[in-house]
């Protein structure tokens, strides 16, 4: 028997016996979050704004991202250039807008890849166990032993610069932690009675993994997804900051910070504006992920 107070609370929340319909599905959980956690809603809106800004960048600004204006070099913010211009006279706001394309892509694409790979490997390792488990987890251990920045640097060194390579590098860096979390989740689910029930009915291994394990891992994976996006964005900006990621003249926030750094003491906004943009996006994703965790998966710890 369970703790009485807890029992009563859940009883009231779920009202088992006399409510029809009203399933507590993902959608309802999201609604509940929206009601309880205004910050998460604001964050979602901020993210949406950044996405819109990235998509409609050409419409939103009259300048091109590499349009130089040598006369107006390093201009201070003004009505014409809201955030001033950089050392080649390019409009900073324009470059920020175009930069958000890269940052958002870099946040989403490698995270999707690493989530998929991590989920498949984690579920296989956890459910199949034995040698499969040992091999996959040792590999993950090796990946996790690297300081992620250095590993990303080496991969970039091996693959060369470019957006696609950044995707690959960041995905390679982050799949292992996903696999580890999904595996531990799988191990718990594997011991659960409903999986045993499925086994007792003769459901095949593959089906159990697809129908029972995966859907039950999903909530924590959604949370993980929203929390891994910001770390990917941070990694890319750090790489670009070191000059290892996106190459000139493409606009990337990290690169803009790097180029603006030499004017830190005279024109601080050159490096500050992109830094703040990074922080805003990352913050928004973190707040959203946090809110999601509260409703979807109270047990997934901060990592």
């Amino acid at each position: 028997m369970r703790d009485e107070q807890e029992e009563m609370l859940t009883m009231q929340m779920e009202a088992p016996e006399d409510v029809l319909g009203e399933a507590d599905t993902l959608k309802d959980q999201l609604k509940r979050m929206a009601r309880q956690n205004k910050l998460a809603v604001v964050s979602a809106v901020v993210i949406l704004l950044f996405v819109l800004g990235a998509i409609f960048a050409p419409v939103l600004t009259p300048y091109e991202f590499d349009q130089q204006d040598v006369i107006n070099r390093l201009a201070s913010p003004s009505a014409e250039h809201l955030l001033g211009t950089d050392e080649l006279g390019r409009d900073v706001l324009t470059r920020l807008l175009y930069g958000s394309r890269i940052s958002l892509l870099v946040g989403v694409v490698p995270t999707v890849i690493s989530m998929l790979a991590g989920a498949v490997l984690g579920i296989c390792a956890g459910y199949i166990g034995g040698k499969t488990d040992v091999i996959i987890m040792r590999l993950a251990d090796i990946m996790l032993a690297f300081p992620s920045m250095l590993l990303a640097m080496v991969i970039m060194y091996t693959l060369g610069d470019g957006l696609i390579n950044i995707f690959l590098a960041l995905a390679l860096v982050s799949w292992a932690s996903v696999a580890r979390i999904v595996r531990s989740e799988t191990l718990k689910l594997k011991e659960s009675v409903f999986v045993e029930a499925a086994k007792s009915m003769g459901v095949s291994r593959l089906k159990i993994m697809c129908r029972h394990i995966f859907p039950n891992c999903l909530p924590s994976m959604i949370v993980l997804f929203t929390l891994n996006i910001p770390s990917a964005i941070l990694s890319e900006s750090s790489l670009s900051f070191l000059g290892i990621g996106i190459k000139y003249p493409q606009a990337s926030w990290g690169l803009m910070v790097n180029l603006g750094r030499q004017f830190l003491y005279t024109k601080p906004w050159l490096s500050l504006a992109p830094s703040i943009a990074i922080m805003l996006v990352v913050l928004a994703f973190n707040f959203l992920g946090d809110g999601l965790r509260d409703v979807l998966d109270p047990h997934l710890k901060d990592q």
Binding site: M1, E4, Q5, L9
Partner: protein, 323 residues
């Protein structure tokens, strides 16, 4: 009354405030615990019996809160006491043991230390002296080789031993009142019998009054002097144990007893109580048991009944409650 009352609970109401509104988990519950007696609270899960116990200890978890009534420990009201004053009473004057001996002990501290902590909290004695008392107490609750067990961690002990450790911890300051919240539910029958025997012995030797909370009528019958039957947050019937088992008067009590007795007899068809416990957020207007009651009439559904005496010391919350 000539017998001394250890604890008297008057109109205790405890609610917790959930998203969907106030849940009255304990609703105007009153009972007395005479000195040296064992009082039973019985009911099914969710009836508010554990919440009552936690309210007495003032150990309610967020968002639970006492909203009314008095808890008088030898005449002193505990409800307005601050957390600091309450901590002087917990363990010293009222102690509690919990349902799950597995999770109720700190996994990273040796059990002896945990018992010792209880006495050091309230007595100004040296550690050696405290340890001596702990060893003596461990022996008293039937733990063999107390020296060896003293250093054990909880995971190294069986469920029965852990519950004994919990009892030792609760009794070491010789409290006036022990609250035992489903102390044997998680244990096997043979161990349950041992623990019940131990509780009875401790009451006899130390003279502690006990509130025993259980869903098991057998346990109640074996141990208690007075019994309070709870349903949906209210006391529906109370009586001395013999009276209650001989003449159960509330339809719910009778339903419960019939359920257990028909099972013990091995009837062809078991008697049951139809339906399920009501949602405390949407309680029926009249009697809370009316939707499941075979005798309920129109009056029951519209107007909530009061607790009324049917004989000396036997109160029933049902207009049809007859002997």
């Amino acid at each position: 009354m000539d017998e001394a009352i250890t604890l008297s609970v008057r109109d205790l109401s405890t609610s917790f405030f959930s998203e969907k509104g106030e849940v009255k988990a304990v609703d105007h519950v009153s009972f007395d615990v005479p000195h040296g007696s064992i009082v039973g609270l019985v009911g099914e899960s969710g009836c508010g019996k554990s919440m009552t116990a936690r309210s007495i200890m003032k150990l309610l978890k967020y968002p639970g809160k006492i909203v009314g009534g008095e808890i008088l420990l030898e005449g002193r009201n505990l409800v307005p006491l601050s957390e600091r004053d309450m901590s002087l009473i917990r363990g010293e004057e009222i102690a509690m043991i919990f349902q799950e001996p597995m999770t109720s002990l700190n996994p990273v501290v040796p059990v002896g230390k945990q018992v010792q902590e209880a006495i050091l909290q309230h007595r100004k004695i040296s550690r050696e002296e405290a340890k001596k008392k702990v060893l003596h107490m461990l022996e008293m609750v039937g733990i063999s080789e107390p020296e060896k067990r003293y250093r054990c961690y909880p995971h190294e002990l069986s469920g029965g031993l852990r519950q004994r450790v919990m009892i030792a911890m609760a009794m070491i300051c010789r409290p006036k009142l022990l609250i035992a919240d489903e102390p044997t539910t998680a244990l096997d029958v043979t161990v349950e019998a041992q623990i019940l025997e131990l509780l009875r012995e401790l009451r006899d030797t130390i003279g502690t009054s006990i509130i025993l909370i259980s869903h098991n009528l057998g346990v109640i019958a074996q141990l208690c002097d007075y019994v309070y039957v709870m349903y949906a947050g209210q006391v529906v019937e109370c009586a001395p144990v013999l009276e209650l088992f001989d003449h159960p008067s509330h339809p719910y009590t009778r339903g419960l007893m019939d359920s257990v007795r028909s099972l013990r007899r091995g009837d062809e068809r078991l008697s049951t109580i139809p339906g399920v416990v009501p949602n405390l957020l949407r309680l029926p207007q009249g009697c809370r048991f009316a939707p499941r009651c075979p005798m309920a009439g129109e009056g029951c559904r519209s107007c909530p009944p009061e607790l009324k005496a049917v004989s000396a010391g036997h109160l029933v919350r049902c207009p049809y409650g007859q002997r």
